[in-house]
């Protein structure tokens, strides 16, 4: 099999160039879309800061070689990105609320546009103004990894969020599915998703 990479190379160069310009970085640490060798080890686990119950995250299936310390680092950073979405889209904020403009910050621009199209499912936007309280009853995250040459190249994050809504709208929802993440040059970013939302009570 052979693959002509012209567009990918252009994209990588463009990404690198814009990173240098925007972030003032001296050089692109990774030119293959995978996590760099030395990431910020001190990236805080957002599970510490997340309101309500913390996300229980685990590394699941790993295809390819990835050392334990890099697995740990990956888990922390992916959990941070997913927590950012779960909190801004569903759990955190002062309800009733109707501002969900920050819901998709850890998403790529295109994925955020897609998610906004499905905002009733990918956030509480459809019910936020009729809800007084939101309580997370379960937050689970399992992280499957594609690793190449010792570095994570792609992640499938399997999420389960059990959400109790109270107010004019009173029910329990289960949001579950997969989010696909790639390394954006500075952090893990959601570039796609396959998510279901069901009313369970």
């Amino acid at each position: 099999m052979f693959l002509t990479p012209a567009r990918a190379v252009r994209a990588a160069l463009a990404t690198c160039a814009s990173l240098v310009l925007v972030a003032g970085l001296g050089a692109c640490s990774s030119d293959d879309g995978s996590e760099p060798e030395s990431g910020p080890e001190s990236a805080p686990s957002s599970t510490e800061a997340a309101p309500g119950i913390p996300t229980k995250s685990t590394i699941g299936f790993v295809k390819g070689r990835l050392k334990p310390d890099r697995r740990k680092q990956l888990r922390i950073r992916v959990t941070k990105a997913i927590d950012q979405w779960l909190d801004a889209a569903y759990v955190a904020g002062d309800y009733p609320r109707n501002d969900f403009s920050d819901a998709f910050k850890p998403f790529s621009q295109g994925a955020a546009a897609l998610a906004k199209r499905d905002k009733g499912l990918m956030s509480n936007a459809d019910v936020g103004d009729r809800v007084d309280t939101v309580t997370a009853k379960a937050r689970r995250l399992r992280i499957d990894v594609l690793a190449d040459k010792g570095k994570a190249a792609g992640v499938t994050a399997r999420v389960v969020l059990l959400l109790e809504l109270d107010g004019e709208v009173r029910r329990t929802d289960r949001i579950a599915g997969r989010l696909f993440l790639g390394y954006s040059g500075s952090d893990w970013q959601v570039f796609g998703y396959d998510v279901k939302r069901g009313r369970v009570a």
Partner: protein, 302 residues
């Protein structure tokens, strides 16, 4: 076989666990609400840049030891994916299509691979259809067979019965089939017993591609399926495209909506050039397919 048995056992165990959970856990507990769904909505999407990705899929009949980038491609399909809508389309190009090849006069389109590798083949296809591919995949048939076997085979609906005395003496009856790697290869390659010759074969290749996508979409939710698939491809792929990019493409393929897959084959007449039989493609038709599909990867009618 062992993996299949393992999956079966896992499915049975999961089914039993779910059944027991649903029956035994009291309905007032969180555990039970976690397992019983009343109403369900589903959404999905993948962000690729650009939203529309065009991949030229080339089946090479290179023999062992031959450089597959310097032989004639046996199967040519220009596949488009619209990651915004989940639509996909395939434009089949008969391999004997007699076209202009940049820098090499006129020849069969599959000779472009021999003359100038994937880049030139992509240019020749771009000249015919009006859409240049973003990627050109070239694969040998043995790897194609392995890949189909690795994903557990594919399901196809065969519109016509056909056979080949060497590749498939018993042939394929019209109707539904589950194909393993070898049979998928035979389904895509057989030409002689098809009334429409290379045009029907190209249509059969589209049926196989749709079957591959169907299996990938059906199994994408399985843990590690996409990751393992990408790793398999990486092991057999000669490319400088990063694994992260392949991972994105694979996820995009999995998110294509099977109901939104269309496909057409460029038709043509027959001619004799220098003693060789060639297809003279209907260029207006080829351009029409390109024009229809360019912006949304959908062809309304062939």
């Amino acid at each position: 076989m062992r993996r299949r048995a393992h999956n079966l056992v896992r499915a049975v165990v999961l089914g039993v666990v779910l059944a027991i959970t649903g029956l035994v856990v009291p309905s007032s507990t969180i555990a039970s609400t976690d397992a019983v769904l009343v109403e369900f909505k589903h959404t999905r999407g993948v962000d690729l840049n650009p939203d529309l990705v065009w991949i030229l899929a080339v089946g090479s009949d290179a023999r062992p030891g031959e450089n597959m980038l310097r032989v004639r491609g046996d199967a040519l399909q220009l596949v488009g994916m619209n990651t915004k809508t989940g639509a996909a389309t395939s434009i089949g190009i008969p391999r004997d299509s007699y076209v202009s090849i940049p820098g090499h006069g006129s020849d069969r389109i599959n000779a472009a691979l021999y003359y100038g590798g994937p880049q030139l083949l992509g240019e020749a296809v771009g000249n015919l259809i009006g859409i240049e591919p973003d990627y050109v995949f070239v694969t040998r048939f043995p790897f194609f067979e392995n890949m189909v076997d690795d994903i557990g085979g594919i399901d196809v609906r065969n519109p016509r019965s056909f056979y080949d005395p060497y590749l498939k003496p018993n042939g394929f009856d019209a109707g539904k089939h589950h194909l393993n790697g070898y049979n998928a290869m035979a389904f895509a390659r057989i030409r002689k017993s098809l009334a429409g010759g290379d045009f029907d074969r190209s249509a059969n290749q589209q049926i196989v591609l749709k079957g591959i996508q169907g299996t990938i979409a059906r199994r994408a939710h399985e843990r590690g399926f996409i990751e393992s698939g990408v790793m398999t491809v990486l092991k057999h792929l000669h490319t400088s495209v990063p694994p992260a990019e392949l991972f994105r493409i694979a996820q995009a393929v999995a998110q294509v909506d099977p109901k939104q897959i269309t496909g057409c084959v460029v038709q043509g007449g027959f001619a004799n050039v220098g003693g060789a039989s060639v297809v003279t493609p209907y260029v207006d038709q080829a351009r029409s397919y390109g024009n229809q599909a360019r912006n949304d990867a959908t062809i309304e009618r062939c």
